[in-house]
């Protein structure tokens, strides 16, 4: 049987073990993990991985998820074709 990979960020193909490794190295907030691993930077901007990562951070820090910084979701939120943005919108 092939080894199962537990990919939690499908945009960047990041596995849960990788997240846990960097949390263990002392990066205990979503903003830092995002910048080391690109989780939350792909086309879904963390819709798939954010909750799972926040739960991991909660376990590691003992803080409830509600008290953790969730990171920033940026415009245009859903990917938009460049030529549509370049059109005149008078």
């Amino acid at each position: 049987m092939t080894e199962k990979k537990n990919v939690i960020c499908r945009c960047e193909e990041i596995e849960i073990d990788e997240i846990r490794k960097w949390i263990d190295a002392g990066y205990t907030n979503f903003e830092e993990l995002k910048r080391i691993l690109r989780v939350g930077m792909g086309p879904c901007q963390g819709r798939g991985c954010r909750d799972i990562i926040l739960r991991e951070l909660s376990k590691a820090t003992g803080k409830p998820v509600a008290e953790l910084l969730p990171g920033v979701i940026r415009p245009p939120v859903k990917p938009v074709k460049a030529k549509l943005l370049a059109e005149d919108n008078e």
Partner: protein
């Protein structure tokens, strides 16, 4: 309350603060760095992170050359497990007017005299090498193939990570409330949590946030924030598109090693703020301008936009100098080209803080130049 002590305190965890912490820790100095959020959260991590040796003054060129000597082996040196994503796909300055082309030629002549492999290229040569570029109206370009790109987030985080491993204390989410001075000498800092730290030497490298912090000990810095915007697309097939900077409307674009494209465009009307707010006007203006030059990207999706503050000075060059408060060194005011100067900035600050002779002459970066009206004119700034 217990006062803690260090040999050197660094205020600001951008790339210059982090690289200085790394250099000092490597030299065995007891150093503590304070950052208000995470490392690189100010201008550094938000940078377009172009790496170039296209400058028009010897001072900047000596430092730029050093940066490009460091970057190729830096990931191995810092050894943190983070990828710095360094590429050398080149950096192109595109001229649309004769006066601009003449200045590029002068810059390239100076670069070549310092053994930097820049060249001038004619429009047909550009077309032959990069057939996907459609740049109507161009009259020539300056290009350096050794220049390139780095990931500004992992660069800053890696410097901090390596500094910690070497014994530096790097305190994130720990904003400094004020600097402390006594009898004309620096004494330390107080954090917003009320922690007091003392050190005989303090480096202030907090980008545009340096100005209000310097004012707490009576030092006036002519450094102010200016918002700049960027966007990133979804990844496409990697074709090593260099950084292309268009000198008509200030638009620029490049491919990142993961296949995404970064678009940016400077705008004189941007607000002078440190807040990283977003602009719909930017999205429309930048896509219009960039798609004219690289129409193949018109169907590519824009994923995210963000902004970050430049730390501008009146002559768009940095200040690296001791201040009127003994023991207080400043390194800020890079005005938009600071990220790539992390290696050389860290080196010269380490040299100054340890009483060594800096490897380049820092006279042009002195603080007094503004009062003396002896500005540091750099013909190649963006």
């Amino acid at each position: 309350m217990t006062v803690k002590t260090a040999d050197v305190i660094i205020v600001g965890g951008g790339v210059h603060g982090a690289s200085t912490a790394y250099e000092l820790a490597k030299a065995g100095v007891n150093v503590v760095l304070f950052e208000k959020e995470y490392l690189g959260s100010g201008g550094s991590g938000r940078s377009a992170a172009g790496l170039r040796q296209h400058f028009g003054t010897e001072t900047n060129l000596h430092m730029a050359k050093y940066n490009l000597q460091v970057f190729p082996t830096l990931e191995e040196e810092l050894d943190t497990g983070m990828s710095l994503e360094f590429t050398q796909w080149g950096y192109m300055w595109v001229a649309y007017a004769d006066t601009v082309l003449a200045q590029l030629q002068k810059n390239v002549d100076l670069q070549r005299s310092l053994d930097i492999p820049s060249v001038m290229m004619k429009p047909d040569e550009v077309k032959a090498r990069w057939p996907y570029l459609c740049m109507d109206g161009i009259i020539g370009v300056a290009f350096c193939g050794d220049d390139g790109h780095i990931n500004p987030q992992t660069l800053t985080l890696s410097y901090g990570h390596a500094a910690r491993r070497l014994g530096a204390i790097v305190k994130t989410y720990c904003p400094v409330a004020k600097l402390l001075a006594e009898n004309g000498k620096i004494k330390g800092v107080v954090t917003e949590d009320g922690e007091e730290w003392h050190a005989p030497k303090v480096l202030l490298s907090a980008g545009p946030w340096s100005t209000p912090l310097a004012a707490t000990v009576g030092v006036d810095l002519p450094v102010y924030p200016e918002r700049h915007n960027l966007l990133i697309t979804e990844p496409v097939e990697v074709f090593d598109c260099p950084m292309v900077l268009c000198l008509d409307d200030g638009a620029y674009f490049k491919q990142c090693p993961n296949g995404t494209f970064m678009f940016g465009r400077d705008d004189q009307d941007e607000p002078h703020i440190t807040e990283s707010t977003n602009s719909a006007k930017f999205l429309e203006g930048v896509t219009k301008s960039v798609l004219k030059r690289i129409p193949a990207l018109s169907g590519v999706r824009v994923v995210r936009q963000w902004s970050g503050p430049y730390d501008n000075t009146p002559d768009h060059n940095a200040i690296i100098d001791w201040t009127s408060v003994e023991g207080l060194l400043v390194n800020c005011g890079w005005s938009g080209h600071g990220l790539q100067f992390g290696p050389s900035g860290g080196r010269v600050c380490k040299e100054l803080l340890m009483g060594e002779k800096p490897f380049v002459d820092l006279y042009r970066f002195r603080l007094a130049r503004f009062a003396e009206n002896d500005l540091f004119f750099e013909p190649a700034f963006i």
